[in-house]
Amino acid sequence: MTDLLATSPDTWRDRALDPPAVPPELLPPADATPWERNRALWERHDLRRQRAEAVYEASRNPERGWPVSGNRAVLTFFRDLLSTRKGMFTALVVVNALAAATGLVVPRLLGELVNTTVDGGGLPLDTLALAIIGVVVLQAAFTFVAQRTSTVFGQDLLSTAREYIVRTILRLPLGAVESASTGDLVTRVTRDVGTMSRSVQYGLPMAIISLLTVVLSIGAMLLNSVVLAVPALLTFATSAPAVRRYLRRAPKGYITEGATYSRINTTLTETVEGARTLEALGLPGERVRAGDDDIEVSAQAERYGMTLRNVLFAALNFAFQTPRVVTLLVGAYAYSRGWVDLGQITAAVLYVEALGDPLDRLIGEVDRLQVGAASTSRLLGIAEVRPDREAGDRLPDGVDLVGTDLRFAYREGHDVLHGVDLRLGVGERLAIVGPSGSGKSTLGRLLSGINRPRTGSASVGGVELVDLPLEVLRTEVALVTQEHHVFIGSVRDNIVLAREDSDDDAVREALRAVGSLLWVERLPQGLDTVIGSGRYALTPAQAQQVALARLIIADPHTLVLDEATSLIDPRTARTLEGSMNNLLEGRTVVAIAHRLHTAHDADRIAVVIDGRIVELGSHHELVELDGEYAALWRAWTS
């Protein structure tokens, strides 16, 4: 046997050479002149930008896990969402425009008021005051309607988007689900859906509203007085390059920040769940250090974002505040020339003050939308997993399961099965034993139609398992693993999985078969009791029974048990004996076993070593043969 650790000297690392969590270049110099400090600050900023870009790139092209889609897919997705809501979208734009427009009338009226006060001309003061009150009431009413519309719109958009994502997840190809880690998916349905929610629910409507307000304000300013508006608007425009640079960089910065926080959380979760392990091994100090390292890294990401914002704020503060001075000076000059009256100047100043806010918000929302788009692209990436099978229209003729010349590789060029032939008799009990890594689980997966063999065929009734529609496959062969997940849902929902149209009688029958009917009927709402994480808690034995009842409903003629009982508490196993018996009754069973007694009781035993069946026969035949199995059996029973 080759030494699996042959490359150990090449891959072992000297811990003393581990780089610190944060490279020293990212720490400010201890003693330096202000000039040097300033230069060092910008060098650090640049370094942090590179780090953020690296994190962003890595998040776009994950090494492991599920794919990430491109920007085009995100745009198409949102365009489709909007195009099916044209009416709603128009209403959103119209009412928000009305709210913004009424808001903009107020400064104009106030200017009018000043004019009246100064020269006594124009509308009488009381009329103007009443008009302003009227406009304010109208503005309040429009604000309410506009906000209400955007809430309804945003929530509708959001619920449609998230339901689409979950439907996509529920359609993921079986082979991919069985082999990929679910961790990445969990992150996507929690963190990425959260980020997407914020941008869909608030970001999109808010961006639209802010944009409307800005456009209308500019219009109102120009209407009020072109002379006063143009210099102010030009000053506003000076911030454009800074804003552009910020919008280009900020999303990467925020995505990096988000990644550091999820890292902090992951580490902390492990720390809490592994508290005892840490204590036993004397590792709390190491763990505290690991947590602090995560925070150091996160702090660097935060500093990048902070500097980005500071640069932006510096530009915005200048661009948004100096128009006050500009308007004052231009206004005074224009007034002296008789181009404008005092009311126009007043209105112009009020507009200038009021415009900063929506502009600020618009920048913030565009920012948020970009972060949301990055999350959305990760969510839509799930949809890009290609289906691993296309159902043919042939249905199996008979129930005999046959595997011929089965080969399979998880990594190209690394076959874990080397041409296995196996024919199962109807109603037979076959046990597969062998050391870990020998390929017995893979064999089980090919025999249950989870993966398509690289060569050869696994068929039932003359039809390839992977060519069967999933609904048919599930009622032919089922793979039973150590997992017995209880879903959040009613008892009924938890059981009817394979045949979702089963009636209550069928469910009760299945529960009776696994010996659970009694305790289920004693539940507060019987079959309708909601169970699962955070709800009515089942004991491990009850959870296991629910898992078995699912299989009774599925009613496949062949079961592949992959270490199905190895993680069960022995006491639970005893109460389950009867349930299990009822399930296996009359079915063909392939049991991938850890324990030799499973093998002892089977009709035939296949010993799998290094991807090949090396021994096949009944217990007695194999003991007689005096090979691998016989040696093991002696060790077990001596």
Binding site: L5, V114, A275, E279, L350, P570, L584, H600, W636
Partner: protein, 627 residues
């Protein structure tokens, strides 16, 4: 002055230094005060910076009014230029301090956020296995991940409110100096507007809470679907659970719309009230201008201030909302931070001798020095309990008490529920303390474990229980978490645990990345890496609980032989019923009802003890496919 990330030495230092400072956990308000006191300088400075940042808003309308009166209406260019220059000065100061304020606010926010997370990590380090006995995992995590953010938000809004208050009073003074009626109006307006809108906040808050809980239910449903995806795709049920999710998603949408509509009401009322205030200010102002008591410039100033008022009122609103949230968060934080380790270090600790005999009084179990003893029990919990005692661990027999259970309750019912939870937590703590401070009942070389320092116990007796898990990192980090093994030692540990295939499966070998909790490895692989790690520690006394329950017979046989060989000469206890281990045991102890009822060699016991035979053979039968 503090910077982020803060240096925290609370609860745990990892060195000989005493942890300090301890947070004030007497009440939520006291905790918040303590936290704010920790960084009062930064908060005070950021408040000052905020004040300067607000200068254009505070003085802008006044300056503009003077410029109109003296420069434009008065027609004096020098005055106009002077006031413009003053305005420019104010704007520049505001701009510069806007950046300073932002920098300081990020600092206070992150000091609170990171500091809280660091305190949580240190609390876990300090409490070890005792913390999960008392507090649900989710709650410990939420203190770090969401409550910490509330504390950060509080520091920010506090600094801003203080500055806004000063700025508001300044504006009131300015207006008062021009017209006492208008000044009084400004002074009265803020409390009145605030008072008028506050009643709206309560129903809004309630709806937001419903929305949050609907959303978190939705998230847990999505997580649940992903966690059970193999079953959903393997056995079926996509339709049902897709439908359930959609139904919950619609419920969340309705809750969101309902709270959004209230938000709209609050916004609209805000617009209305500040509009009404503006109009009254203007109307009064124009009267006074007409009466010749005010100048036009002053009227224009008032218009500016009418718009200005929105700022402080919003900020005070935020302060009210965020301090309520911070108090709720503080209560959750206290539930974690107030806990104390139950252990008392002995006054004169006795050093332990790992090469001596270890005896458990309760079960009558003895592990002879240097031998491999297997503990056999028909009830696995009983051998696990023995292992816990040998290692001085409190038994996992408590229901952790959370803080979140009573959400939705109000007023007196909520207070009652809270008091009840506090009582339950105190009860567990008292019981822990009682068990931890009396004589432990396990003696190593005649020394009761309670007479030795706890870290001496941990160093001498290593218990690897079934809950032992892996941490994310490289394979090298997993096998050698302390970083003190040589490569040869690590290789040996991997070989003895027969986990070379894990190394082989990772293209980068020792530097191959394991996911968190070793997810991505099979159950058997995980178990073998955990075993390798335990063996590599080379503890004088090693206690393994079901070390190979997820491993196949071939491999188990190999591991049992290799472990017996490796540990020869050092005390080893294995709790299992597998014959493959019993085969290599120097001695076997049979437990019944937690007490040793038979002891001896495996072959002997098998022959002469019917009870023993029954347990071992029974174990064989349990595993099978029943016929």
């Amino acid at each position: 002055m503090q910077d982020f990330p803060p240096r925290i030495a609370t609860f745990f230092t990892g060195t000989g230094d005493a942890p300090t400072p301890d947070p004030d956990t007497r009440s939520p308000a006291a905790f918040l005060r303590w936290m704010l006191r920790q960084q009062w300088q930064v908060i005070a400075l950021s408040s000052l910076a905020c004040l300067l940042w607000l200068m254009p808003l505070t003085f802008g309308p006044y300056i503009f009014g003077r410029a109109v009166d003296e420069g434009i209406l008065g027609g004096s260019t020098p005055h106009l230029l002077t006031w413009s220059a003053v305005m420019l000065g104010v704007v520049v100061v505001g701009g510069v301090f806007g950046v300073v304020f932002h920098t300081l606010v990020v600092r206070t926010w992150l000091i609170s956020l990171y500091g809280t997370t660091q305190m949580v990590t240190r609390k876990i380090a300090q409490m070890g296995h005792v913390l999960p006995r008392r507090s649900p995992t989710g709650e410990v995590l939420s203190v770090a991940s969401s409550d910490s953010d509330e504390f950060g938000a509080l520091t920010e809004v506090l600094a801003r409110s203080a500055a806004q208050l000063v700025s508001y009073l300044t504006v009131a003074a300015i207006v008062l100096s021009m017209s006492w009626e208008l000044g009084v109006l400004v002074l009265v307006a803020a409390p009145v507007l605030l008072g008028a809108a506050l009643p709206l906040l309560r129903p809004l808050h309630r709806r937001q809470q419903t929305e949050r809980s609907r959303n978190s239910e939705l998230t847990s449903m999505a997580t649940d679907i992903v966690a059970g995806l193999r079953i959903l795709r393997g056995i079926g049920g996509e339709e049902t659970f897709g439908r359930n999710y959609a139904a919950q998603s619609q419920a969340a949408r309705r809750a969101g719309v309902s709270s959004g509509i209230w938000q709209a009401v609050v916004e609209a009322v805000g617009v209305l009230l500040s509009g009404v205030f503006l109009v009254s200010l203007v109307w009064l102002g124009t009267r006074q201008v007409v009466a010749g008591e005010l100048t036009v410039g002053q009227l224009i100033s008032f218009l500016g201030y009418g718009l200005f008022m929105v700022g402080p009122i919003r900020t005070f609103f935020e302060l009210a909302q965020k301090s309520t949230r911070a108090l709720v968060s503080a209560r959750r934080a206290i539930a974690i931070f107030e806990q104390r380790p139950p252990w008392r270090e002995p006054d004169r600790p006795v050093p332990l001798d790992g090469t001596a005999e270890i005896v458990d009084d309760l079960s009558g179990f003895t592990a002879r020095p240097g031998l491999l003893t297997v503990v056999v029990s028909a009830v696995p919990e009983q051998s696990a309990a023995l292992a816990d005692r040998l290692g001085r661990y409190l038994p996992p027999d408590t229901d952790p008490v959370g803080e979140d259970e009573a959400e939705g309750l109000k007023g007196r019912a909520a207070r009652r529920a809270r008091a009840d939870r506090e009582r339950r937590r105190a009860r567990i703590a008292a019981r822990d303390e009682e068990a931890a401070t009396r004589e432990w009942g396990v003696r190593l070389g005649g020394v009761d474990l309670s007479a030795a320092r706890l870290d001496d116990v941990r160093r001498t007796v290593l218990v690897s229980d079934t809950g032992s898990g892996l941490f994310a990192g490289t394979l090298q980090d997993a096998v050698d978490p302390h970083g003190r093994l040589t490569r040869e030692q690590a290789e040996q540990a991997l070989r003895v645990a027969n986990a070379e295939d894990v190394y082989d499966a990772l293209p980068q070998g020792w530097q191959g990345q394991l996911d968190e909790r070793g997810r991505g490895l099979s159950g058997g692989q995980r178990q073998r890496v955990v075993l390798a790690r335990a063996l590599a520690v080379d503890a004088p006394v090693l206690v393994l609980v079901e070390p190979t329950s997820a491993v196949d017979a071939h491999t188990e046989a190999r591991i049992a032989a290799r472990v017996a060989d490796l540990r020869r000469g050092r005390t080893t206890v294995v709790c299992t019923v597998s014959p493959l281990w019993l085969h290599h045991a120097d001695r076997v102890a049979l437990l019944r009802d937690g007490v040793v009822v038979a002891e001896g060699e495996h072959a002997d016991l098998l022959e002469r003890d019917a009870a023993y035979r029954e347990v071992v053979v029974r174990a064989l039968e349990d595993e099978g496919v029943p016929q």
